[in-house]
């Protein structure tokens, strides 16, 4: 008799019982080893819940590293491109980090939880890089991805719902603030952060209390039509927000196989995250050089004519020469625009450049191709006042 138990191929997040109960579509995908929903019921309804009321998105599979030790702050400052000197306890910072060649390994957020504890949250797993970076520093790095359950709770009514849930004073959190609240027998960490460019929070809790948190949010948000949302709805929102994603809009540097496929922060529109005057950080020399010599690519957000998403399109210039490709594209309903993120060869992608997207689309078993004119978008696509307003208002 064999009693061999085969472990499941994919992990389930601590919210799985609730997620699977709500997931009417039964549409799942593998996200960093976890089974996660692509959509729950209807992508449009999910998207509009995110923009008009409140949405729950399970972000447990995001990579979470806990950094402790006397040199934690110095360690992170050397790791990332942004100057972390002013990252006080109770604050969060968005940044990118590079390899020696100045190419982006990942972007993400760093939470200064308490005196000598930081949490780095990102898309990709790169513990080896974190460990190698620790040479010569008194730090301890732990992968706490499985130890922290997390929800992204986004939308205009998110603050109101959290208040109903009993998080007194949560409206006073500024963007990129973080705060702990008692929750049952445990602590709930709340940060005013997100991936939607809207008013919203991310909630961090011990896995044992995950289901209780989900239930509390659903109960408090019942009158607000709070909805769990899947990856597809979030994809529309993040393109609308103008946020890039590792593995989609760029190849994480340490995963690059072919030469020159990765991108520097300047080539991803993240130049504002690079503080070249810091004493020493990974990629500094290469980035200084790039700043002098110029970049190879420009990351551009394009407004594409028509309503067909320019997914994976080639971008042509007026001379009919390919000058780049689209990395993400979506029709974004709130801004009512057909947006595409494109990585273009220099010098293309400047405002005023005449560019064309080659779009293939399928209509009832017939493929068609159109060339649509593109305009470089300079201003934020979606940036409501409520995103940063403090105290956050009820809607």
């Amino acid at each position: 008799m064999t009693d061999l138990e085969i472990p499941p191929l994919l992990l389930q997040t601590p919210f799985h019982s609730r997620v699977s109960a709500a997931c009417e579509m039964n549409l799942w995908e593998d996200w960093k080893g976890y089974t996660t929903p692509v959509a729950y019921s209807n992508v449009e309804l999910e998207y509009f819940a995110m923009r008009n009321s409140a949405s729950i998105f399970d972000i447990t599979p995001m990579t979470k590293y806990r950094i402790t030790g006397a040199d934690g702050h110095a360690y992170l400052d050397r790791l990332v491109t942004r100057n972390l000197k002013n990252l006080d306890v109770g604050r969060v910072m968005y940044t990118a980090w590079c390899n020696d060649e100045g190419k982006v390994i990942d972007d993400g957020t760093i939470f200064h939880v308490n005196d000598d504890t930081f949490i780095l949250c990102a898309q990709e797993r790169h513990l080896d890089w974190m460990e190698w970076s620790a040479l010569g520093f008194d730090v301890k790095i732990e992968d706490v991805t499985e130890e922290i359950a997390a929800l992204s709770f986004q939308g205009p009514t998110s603050c109101a719902i959290l208040k109903i849930m009993g998080l007194t004073g949560v409206e006073n959190l500024k963007s990129f603030d973080l705060q702990h609240y008692p929750f049952g027998q445990t602590q709930l960490m709340v940060s005013r952060t997100g991936f939607t460019a809207d008013l919203g929070y991310e909630l961090w809790i011990e896995p044992d209390h995950a289901e209780a948190l989900w239930d509390a949010l659903m109960a408090a948000g019942r009158d607000y039509n709070v909805k769990p949302v899947g990856a597809e709805a979030l994809q529309i929102a993040r393109v609308e927000a103008g946020f890039i994603q590792a593995g989609v809009d760029f190849v994480p540097a340490e995963q690059e196989v072919r030469v020159e496929r990765s991108r520097s922060p300047y080539e991803l529109g993240l130049g504002w995250l690079v503080h070249l005057k810091k004493p020493n950080f990974n990629g500094q020399q290469a980035l200084k050089e790039e700043k002098l010599k110029g970049s190879r690519f420009r990351f551009t957000r394009l407004d594409v004519q028509g309503n067909k998403p320019a997914e994976n399109s080639f971008i042509f210039n007026r001379q009919n020469k390919v000058v780049g490709v689209v990395t993400s594209a979506a029709w974004v309903p709130t801004a009512k625009r057909n947006v595409a993120f494109a990585s273009l060869e220099m010098p293309w992608g400047k405002p005023g450049n005449e560019l064309w997207a080659e779009i293939y689309y399928l209509r009832e078993l017939k493929w068609a191709r159109v060339l649509e004119k593109c305009t470089v978008i300079e201003e934020p696509i979606f940036d409501p006042e409520r995103r940063h307003a403090t105290p956050a208002l009820d809607y």
């Binding site: 040199d71 110095a74 360690y75 050397r78 790791l79 390899n99 020696d100 060649e101 890089w129 190698w132 970076s133 040479l135 010569g136 520093f137 004493p279 020493n280 950080f281 990974n282 990629g283 500094q284 020399q285």
Partner: protein
Amino acid sequence: MTDSKHIDVVVVGAGHNGLVSAAYLAKSGLQVLVLEASDKVGGAAATSEFSEGFSVSECAHFLYSLHPTIVKDLQLANHGLFYVATDLKTVALSSEGKHITMAGSEIQGEDVSTEDISNYRRFHTQMKRFSKVLASSFTHRPPRLVDGDMKDKLSLLKLGWNARKMGRQNMLELLRIGAINIYDVLNENFDNQLLKGALSLEAVLGSHTGPRSPNTVLGLLYRRVGETYGFRGPTIPSGGMGNVSNAIASSATSLGAAIRTSSPVERILIRDGKVAGVKLSDGEVINCDRVISNADPKYTFSKLVGYPQLETGFSRRAANIRMKGNTAKLHLALEALPEFTGLNTNDIGNRLVIAPGPDYVENAFNHAKYGEFSEHPIMEISIPTVHDTSLAPTGKHVLSAVVQYAPHNLKQGWSEANEEFTALLLDLLESYAPGIKKLVIASELLTPADIESRFGTTAGHWHHGELALDQFLMLRPFPGMGQYAAPVKGLFLCGAGSHPGGNVMGLVGRNCANTLLEAGAASD
């Protein structure tokens, strides 16, 4: 006390390469200050008294590849460099006394077949030819493969051309054997066990490899490079290896360099990504915008610079240099000249080798893989007092032996095992030279742990990093650090960890000095 005099370059460490660098830079008119941690110059090329009245070359004990250009440029003969014995033969010892003797391309011995004799002549010529190709790349900085300039492309082309110029057959043979193990190549060529054992030892000396490890043929070629420089066998300098260093130091001083011993550097100071000076362990700060480190790359980057001052990928490569010291040094003070079974007294001053077969050597290495010392070690023996009586009281002698394998990371730790291993080595010697144990007045065993603490080399590795293809030429000490200049502006490496590598050759020091001078000229 801080010298108010302006200093252009500080050299950290007065190993022979550091001194060569200092001499060349001083010759070019730079103000150079050499700072040495110990109380004498030379690093691992030094002579020390290990017992009252008995002195010995501390680490390296034969000279066989000091570059002639350096000897000439620095006028070392005028500064006291003098050889008491040159072109020594190699005697592969057999415990039964049936030794074989190798001198240049000739081998002698009663059990050596005529086939082996003629094969060795051919093999010797072949190795010399291949070494010459290697040597052609040793006298200048190795080419950079990515983003190389014209000079890089030319030197790469030159290396390729030198290989091609040997003729198609020879080039193919070099490419065939260049990366494989010496064991197979020896078996292809020879029958005699002693011959194969002695050549195996030559190929693996100073490294963490056995004869069946990959690219040990390279180890042999590397040692044979000396033949291109006019050494037809090991050479013994008067006063031991320390006098080679003293001569270079004297030359450097006469050219204007200042040398301070007992001045350990604790830190290389860096400001805004550039060298700002050095800090000594007594707190003294010396300002300068260029520093050459003679310390090994790992020590330089982890201790003197500090990994946090560097970038992660670079630190990772530095931390991953393969350098596990596996070589110990035995010094014996002897009441009288020992007698080796069957060895003519006239031959005792030669290079004596205990490595009675390639399998013996490989088996000796097996232990080292698991943190144990060899039960039947291999030895390269020199009795320098045969040629140089100044090293010991009249009538008495000194025996110096390079011993393998003695891994740095010994399971039980070296403080426990030093005595035990010494006893084992004496027993081994006794089996080749009966009665030698009774002659021993004093002994000293420098294990890799001692070599690390005495000379500061990480893990006690003689060559500051394995000499293997993945750490050779432009890959030495590691990719991105192959041209002496570190990413920190003004920091250079001149130790054996850089191209071409270990042995008392002096070329790393010279190449590094040239690189610094070129860089200076380019940025001014």
